[in-house]
């Protein structure tokens, strides 16, 4: 392993160093790299530039260089800070619950039983469905005060219909996110379970471990790596979640479910305030880098030797 083999971040522009120029002469890699850089890096550089300008699409005459003014503005704006908190709480809650639920799913379906294939299939379905359709289904078939099955049940027990999304918006969004991401966690955890040597479990049984002890002392320690991986990947996807919030709550009521991506979306497409939106985007990208750095280290250790 070379001493300088640290994880690369996207802030590190390949043309400028590290990768060395040879990579561009590698006809097998260069095209893929070029596409990714042009489509993802170039726009990000533009975003950084935009973030330094006062620029509202509706008032082009008002455009001017603004230095770090946009950054000052967004950090003074309670909406942005709130959305950061919202993003973080969604992420923490949804990731932890998804992990837990995913683990339960995985433990439920790991061993063979009647119809295991079908059960697994049903369990991963939420992850496959287009997110906006998943959200639509929840909004209208489950949570809706009028058509929703939940309120029908409530009414059977003599309750009055509840506006779930209105009254419990955060819980509603987290519920949908967990519904959608727990299968993702399950898939990775299942892979971990499959990698667990049956001999080990059998040996534990020979040594007198009951199902609980077996899970606690053999299975869970073995799964640690997999739980870490799924948790971290899940965090990165969930922190950027947009589709479900767009469809389910539009960030509301109030700003209860406005996370950073949705706030940026609103800033761009409802306020047309490019400067502020870009500043927020830069901040969230920088924030993501912290997590990604850790993730890459973890991935690196999971991948074993590279180079």
């Amino acid at each position: 392993m070379k001493p300088d083999a640290k994880p690369a971040l996207f802030g590190r522009i390949p043309i400028l160093g590290r990768f060395g120029l040879w990579i561009w002469r590698n006809p097998l890699i260069a095209p893929a790299l070029l596409v990714v850089i042009v489509v993802t890096q170039a726009p990000f550089i533009l975003t950084v530039i935009y973030s330094l300008f006062r620029w509202n699409l509706q008032r082009p005459e008002n455009t001017a260089f603004n230095g770090f003014g946009n950054y000052l503005d967004i950090f003074r704006d309670s909406r942005f800070l709130d959305s950061v908190v919202t993003s973080l709480s969604f992420t923490v809650a949804a990731v932890l619950l998804s992990l837990l639920v995913g683990l339960v799913y995985a433990l439920l379906v790991h061993d063979r039983f009647f119809g295991r294939g079908i059960v697994r299939t049903l369990l991963i379905t939420p992850f496959l469905i287009m997110p906006i359709i998943g959200a639509l289904a929840w909004k209208y078939t489950v949570l809706s005060p009028i058509f929703g099955i939940l309120n029908w049940i409530v009414r059977q027990f003599g309750g009055t219909p509840i506006d779930w999304i209105g009254m419990y918006p955060v819980a509603s969004v987290v519920a949908v996110l967990v519904w959608r991401w727990a299968p993702f966690m399950m898939i990775i955890i299942l892979a971990g379970l499959q990698a667990l040597n049956d001999d080990q479990r059998e040996a534990a049984r020979m040594d007198g471990a009951g199902p609980w002890a077996e899970t606690r002392f053999i299975v869970l320690p073995h799964l640690k790596k997999y739980l870490q991986l799924s948790g971290l990947l899940g965090s990165i996807f969930i922190v950027n979640e947009f589709d479900v919030i767009f469809m389910l709550t539009q960030g509301g009521p109030g700003t209860a479910t406005t996370n950073v991506p949705f706030l940026i979306y609103q800033s761009v497409f409802y306020s047309f305030d490019i400067g502020h939106a870009a500043a927020m985007a830069v901040v969230i990208v920088l924030g993501t880098i912290v997590v990604v750095t850790y993730l890459l280290k973890l991935l690196g250790s999971l991948m074993g030797d590279l180079d």
């Binding site: 009055t160 009521p253 406005t258 409802y270 047309f272």
Partner: protein, 458 residues
């Protein structure tokens, strides 16, 4: 048919000539390219029933203009605004024709983003005299018309006469808000799935913002004083917001923060809501037995006011057709406008898709279009006429001086964001995320930011 065809063509012809000159000067487009009545025409419109129906009638348009290939995109209101505004402000040329309204049109006209349509007015075949002047005023800037009224509306109060009667209640012709809430409370019976009133709770300056705006006006409130000091926390404005939020909390269906124009309309046709304060374009739906099982029990009243004797308050809105200067096919766009808003559309379309799917009347002749229509239009026409006659929906119904124009909105670009953010906060207050005063405080802060950042106040 032949005469109709001829007239449409003629109208297009005059327009073409007139517009060609203006366009060449203004934008430097070649007249030939810009005004061809052929090719691809991309329309972006709000997905209201009248435009959905219009899309279904495209074969008729194509019979008149066989060489125009129409691509009609219909999107919910909040989304359509986002997409259209992005297109217009970046001059992207996505749309050749858009639905927009009196909030944006004067600003966009001034910015040079919309084509002037005065030529359309000058075309005798268009019968411009027939169009209500009030709507045209709202769509003009500096004496130039930038959009043609497609579906016009003013706000009014709908109610179920049968339910009121059963409860021994009567509705004044021009009720106050207190009276409305009193009646709504009497009729509100959630256990039976019966709700007193539907009122837009969906955030958005064009959704909750519209009825709320009129409540603020009639309560004597305003967004800014003459010096651009935000007035959300002023006693009048604050009282209006408190009233609106509490009404939503007390007498509306569950989930009201997700109810916009469409959802509230459904609440009436499904019999859930006893009353609805919303726009006049619903009248055609509500009074038509084909589209509303309770049609014969529907009645309307003037938009409620703060107290008896207050000056009438209502919002005016027009979904209007405009041609962006960045459009690629202005000729086809104009042809479509003249078809969709011309004097022949309603008489032709109403028998095919029903009165409920007609645009809100922007032309006097729509009321006289057929005897059956005038018959069922009679109950609400009186109220609408009176509203149109007494309310200044363009310059506002404020009691106090304001530095801005606009009625249920204020005509500055930043209002779109401000209105969205404030209504979002208010909807948060409706479901108890925060107190009304907290929401008002935030809204006040946003409004102050807009005044300063927008350069309205130093």
């Amino acid at each position: 048919m032949l005469t109709e065809l001829g007239r449409q063509r003629a109208s297009g012809g005059v327009l073409r000539a007139a517009l060609a000159a203006g366009t060449v000067l203004a934008a430097g487009f070649g007249a030939q390219d810009a005004l061809a009545q052929s090719g691809r025409l991309v329309i972006g419109a709000v997905n209201n029933a009248e435009f959905v129906a219009m899309r279904d009638l495209l074969p008729e348009f194509n019979r008149l203009y066989p060489d125009i290939e129409v691509e009609f995109q219909l999107v919910p209101e909040n989304e359509v605004r986002a997409r259209i505004t992005t297109d217009i402000t970046t001059q992207s040329g996505i749309y050749d024709l858009i639905t927009t309204g009196p909030f944006e049109v004067p600003m966009w006209g001034r910015a040079g983003w919309l084509e002037p349509l005065d030529a359309l007015m000058d075309d005798p075949a268009y019968e411009a005299d027939d169009v209500f002047q009030g709507y045209l005023d709202g769509l003009s800037h500096d004496g130039k018309l930038y959009a043609a009224p497609g579906s016009a509306q003013a706000s009014m109060l709908y109610y179920r006469a049968d339910l009121l009667e059963a409860a021994g209640l009567t509705m004044p012709e021009a009720p106050t808000w207190d009276e409305v809430v009193e009646i709504a409370t009497a009729l509100h019976d959630p256990a039976a799935g019966q709700y007193g009133l539907c009122l837009r709770g969906l955030p958005g300056w064009g959704q909750m913002g519209a009825p709320l705006g009129t409540v603020i006006n009639t309560f004597g409130g305003r967004w800014y004083d003459a010096d651009w000091n935000a007035q959300i926390t002023s006693p009048e404005t604050s009282a209006a917001i408190h009233f609106y939020v509490e009404t939503l909390q007390n007498v509306t269906p569950p989930g009201v923060t997700q109810f916009g124009n469409q959802e509230c309309g459904q609440a009436i046709t499904t019999g859930q809501a006893a009353m609805l304060y919303d726009d006049s374009s619903w009248a055609q739906v509500f009074f038509d037995p084909e589209t509303n099982p309770h049609a014969e029990n529907m009645a309307v009243a003037m938009a409620p006011v703060a107290e008896a004797g207050s000056k009438p308050s209502a919002w005016f809105w027009t979904w209007a057709w405009a041609v962006p200067t960045s459009a690629n096919n202005k000729g086809a766009a104009l042809a479509f406008i003249s078809w969709a808003t011309g004097p022949d559309y309603v008489p032709y379309a109403a028998p095919l898709v029903g009165w409920g799917n007609m645009p809100g009347p922007a032309r006097q002749s729509q009321y006289e279009a057929s005897s059956s229509y005038s018959e069922f239009a009679a109950p609400f026409m009186a109220v609408l006429d009176r509203t149109l006659a007494t309310v200044d929906g363009v310059n506002g119904t404020h009691y106090e001086d304001t530095p801005y124009t606009g009625n249920q909105y204020i005509q500055i670009p930043e209002f779109q964001d401000l209105g969205n953010r404030c209504t979002q906060e208010f909807s948060g207050a409706v479901v108890g995320q925060q107190t009304v005063d907290e929401a008002i405080g935030k809204c006040q802060q946003y409004a102050e930011d807009v005044a300063v950042n927008g350069g309205y106040r130093n």
